[in-house]
C-alpha cells in the first residue's frame, strides 16, 4: 500500500534531504570565536600542516551572518558571555556549535568566580572537544563527528 503524502516523507523528499545533508557537511563555514589558549591549536589545525580544508571547513568567516558553525575556542568569562550569546543569535539557521577545549565544555580547571562553567549554560552545543588544549587530531575527530551529525539530521529546507 502506498504511503499517503501527508503521512511521512516521501521518496523524493527523503532523497533530497540526504543530498542536502551530504552537501552541507562538506561546506562548513565556521566562525572562530577565539578567546584564549585553544586559539593556538585552532591555528595549527587550520593551517597547512593539519589542513582543515580537507574536510571542507577551510574558510573561516568572521561575520556571524555568513557562518553556520560557531567554534567557541577558549575560556568564556562572564564578561565575554553576552558577546558570545549575541554572536550566536546573529547566526542564520541552520547553525551548529562546537565547544573547543575543556574550558568551553565545563569550565575546565578555572573553577572560579570569573569563568562560565561550560558554554552549554548559555547556548546549545552540538559537539564537545575536550582537552586543554585539544590536539589537532582531536579537533579533526570532533569535526568529523559534527559532519556525521549534519549529514544525518533532519534538514531544514
Amino acid at each position: 500500500m502506498a504511503t499517503a503524502p501527508s503521512e511521512g516523507p516521501g521518496f523524493f523528499t527523503s532523497k533530497l534531504e540526504r543530498v542536502i545533508g551530504w552537501a552541507r557537511k562538506y561546506s562548513i563555514f565556521q566562525y572562530p570565536f577565539v578567546t584564549a589558549c585553544c586559539g593556538m591549536e585552532y591555528m595549527a589545525t587550520a593551517a597547512s600542516h593539519y589542513d582543515v580544508d580537507r574536510f571542507g571547513a577551510g574558510l573561516p568567516r568572521f561575520s556571524p551572518r555568513q557562518a553556520d558553525v560557531l567554534f567557541v575556542v577558549g575560556t568564556i568569562s562572564h564578561k565575554i558571555a553576552p558577546v558570545l550569546y549575541r554572536v550566536y543569535e546573529q547566526m542564520c539557521e541552520p547553525k551548529w556549535v562546537v565547544a573547543f577545549g575543556v574550558c568551553t565544555c565545563t569550565g575546565g580547571f578555572y573553577d572560579n568566580y570569573a569563568t562560565v562553567q561550560g558554554i552549554d549554560t548559555i547556548i546549545p552545543v552540538d559537539v564537545y572537544i575536550p582537552g586543554c588544549p585539544p590536539r589537532p587530531e582531536a579537533v579533526l575527530d570532533g569535526l568529523m563527528k559534527l559532519q556525521a551529525k549534519i549529514e544525518n539530521q533532519k534538514q531544514l529546507l
Binding site: 589558549c37 591555528m43 597547512s48 554572536v87 572560579n112
Partner: protein, 446 residues
C-alpha cells in the same frame, strides 16, 4: 547665501572594534573615535579574559599552581612556567643543577621562537600575506614536535618543577633539534625574502604605529616593542638568570619604533634564539649520573611487586623503565636535572617504590597541607618573556600555599600605551599596529 558661507560642523564618529573581531586576536575592545578615516582618540577596554589567575594560585599549593602560569602567555608557555618556578626557588634559596639551567635556557628560547613566529605570521596574514602565515605555522609545528618530545605536550606543558624540570631530555634529542632548527631557519629565510623587501608590506608597516623612545619609557614598555624604539633593555642581559650570562647573543635594536622595526626586531631575535639554542646544546654538561646500577632494567610494576614482598635491599641501584609519561625521571636522569633538596624535590621513582625513606619523602611532598613550604617573605623574579619583562612577585606566609602571586605582564603596559600608537593614523593602520604589539589576552587580563 548665508547657508553656503557658514562653516560646516563636522562630527566625529564612535566605532567599537572588538571584542569579537577578526583582527583582534585575543579579546579586547577598542573604543575608537574617528574623524573621517583618521583615528583621533582610542581607548582599550580589557578584562574579557579574566580567569582569576592570582586567586587560583592562592587556592592551590605551590606545586599545583604550576599549570596556571602556562596559560598566561599561551604562545610561549615555557617561559612563564620557568618564571614562576624560578621565583619560588629564589624564595626557597635553591640552586638548580647546571644541566637543568641549560635545559631551561634551551626550552625558553624554543618558546620565544614559537611566539615570534605566531606574532609575525598572524600580523602578516592580517595585511594580506597568507603565505607567510602558513610558512610560519609550519615552522612552529616543527618546534611543537620538539617541545612535545621533551615535555609530553604541545602547548600547555607544565614541564618545570620547583627545583628542576619534569624529566631529562629524551634520547637522540640533539639530532632531532638540529633537524628542526634547520627547517625553521629555512622558513625564516623564505619569509624574509617574501616580506622584508615586499613593497606592499613595507608600505603598510613603515612609519605606522610609531612608538617614540620617550613614550616607551613613560609607559614602561619592555621587550621587542621597547627595543624597536631603541631602548637597549633585555632582562637576559641586564639581570642575567639561568646561564644567559654565559651565552653569546646580540640584542637587536630598532631606530624608528614603527611596525616595520618591530617586525625586524622579532625576526632578528628568532635568529639570535637559534644561536642561543645551539650554544646551550653544545655547552650542556652531562651532570652526575649514578653509575652504580647493575645495568639491569626492571619494569616499575615489577619493582612495586618486589617491594611488597620485602625484597627491597637491591632496588635502590636498579635502573627502572617507567611508564612513558615518566620517561626521563629514573634515577640517572633525575639526578642530572634535580638538585639534592629533599624538602622540595620528589625522590626518583626507584626510591619511592623501593625504600621507606623515599616513600615518606614522596608523600610528605604530595600530601595535602604538607608539601613545599617556603619561608616567610616575598621575592620578585623577572624573566625576559616573549613580549617583555615578565615578573613574578610572590609572597609566602610560611604555609603550603602562596599568600600572593602577582604577575607583571608585559602586555598590560603595552595596552596602556596603545593609544599613542594608534591616534593620528588611519583606520586600516589599526590592524598591523595591533598585530605587531602581539597582545596576549591571557597575560593581559590574567
Amino acid at each position: 547665501m548665508e547657508a553656503a558661507t557658514a562653516t560646516r560642523e563636522t562630527r566625529s564618529m564612535l566605532v567599537n572594534i572588538g571584542p569579537s573581531h577578526p583582527a583582534m586576536h585575543g579579546v579586547i575592545r577598542l573604543v575608537t573615535e574617528l574623524e573621517g578615516e583618521t583615528v583621533i582618540r582610542t581607548e582599550a577596554e580589557i578584562g574579557y579574559l579574566h580567569r582569576a589567575f592570582e586567586k587560583s594560585c592562592e587556592n592551590s599549593t605551590w606545586t599545583q599552581a604550576i599549570p596556571y602560569p602556562d596559560r598566561l602567555n599561551y604562545v610561549s608557555p615555557l617561559i612563564n612556567n620557568f618564571g614562576y618556578c624560578a621565583a619560588v626557588e629564589k624564595l626557597l634559596g635553591i640552586e638548580t643543577t647546571e644541566r637543568c639551567k641549560y635545559i631551561r635556557v634551551l626550552m625558553s628560547e624554543i618558546s620565544r621562537i614559537t611566539d615570534h613566529l605566531t606574532c609575525i605570521g598572524a600580523s602578516a596574514m592580517e595585511v594580506g600575506a597568507m603565505t607567510a602565515f602558513l610558512y610560519f605555522i609550519k615552522a612552529r609545528e616543527f618546534l611543537y614536535e620538539i617541545v612535545e618530545e621533551v615535555t609530553g605536550a604541545r602547548l600547555t606543558i607544565s614541564y618545570r618543577r620547583i627545583g628542576g624540570v619534569k624529566a631529562d631530555l629524551p634520547e637522540g634529542f640533539a639530532q632531532k633539534l638540529e633537524t628542526a632548527l634547520l627547517k625553521v631557519e629555512k622558513e625564516l629565510y623564505e619569509v624574509d625574502k617574501l616580506l622584508t623587501r615586499n613593497r606592499i608590506f613595507v608600505d603598510r608597516m613603515r612609519d605606522v604605529g610609531v612608538l617614540t623612545r620617550e613614550d616607551a619609557l613613560g609607559y614602561s614598555i619592555t621587550g621587542p616593542m621597547a627595543r624597536a624604539s631603541g631602548i637597549d633593555y633585555d632582562v637576559r642581559k641586564a639581570f642575567p638568570y639561568f646561564v644567559y650570562d654565559r651565552t653569546e647573543f646580540d640584542v637587536p635594536l630598532g631606530e624608528r619604533g614603527d611596525n616595520y622595526d618591530r617586525y625586524l626586531v622579532r625576526m632578528e631575535e628568532m635568529r639570535q634564539s637559534i644561536r642561543i639554542i645551539r650554544q646551550a646544546m653544545r655547552d650542556m654538561p652531562g651532570g652526575p649520573i649514578n653509575v652504580d646500577s647493575s645495568g639491569k632494567v626492571v619494569e616499575s610494576f615489577e619493582l612495586v611487586d618486589q617491594a611488597k614482598m620485602g625484597k627491597t635491599s637491591g632496588l635502590v641501584n636498579i635502573v627502572t623503565t617507567v611508564e612513558p609519561t615518566l620517561d626521563g625521571s629514573q634515577r640517572p636522569f633525575h639526578d642530572r636535572v634535580m638538585p639534592d633538596e629533599k624538602r622540595v624535590v620528589l625522590p626518583p621513582k626507584e626510591d619511592t617504590y623501593g625504600n621507606i625513606e623515599g616513600l615518606m619523602n614522596h608523600f610528605k611532598l604530595i600530601m595535602d597541607s604538607h608539601g613545599i613550604r617556603p619561608p616567610k617573605g616575598d621575592t620578585y623574579f623577572a624573566v625576559e618573556g616573549a613580549n617583555g619583562e615578565l615578573g613574578f612577585y610572590i609572597v609566602s606566609d610560611g604555609k603550603d600555599r602562596p599568600y600572593r602571586v602577582r604577575v607583571r605582564p608585559p602586555c598590560f603596559f603595552a595596552m596602556a600605551g596603545l593609544h599613542k600608537m594608534l591616534e593620528g593614523y588611519m583606520v586600516p593602520d589599526i590592524v598591523p599596529t595591533f598585530g605587531s604589539i602581539n597582545m596576549i589576552a591571557g597575560e593581559l587580563d590574567r
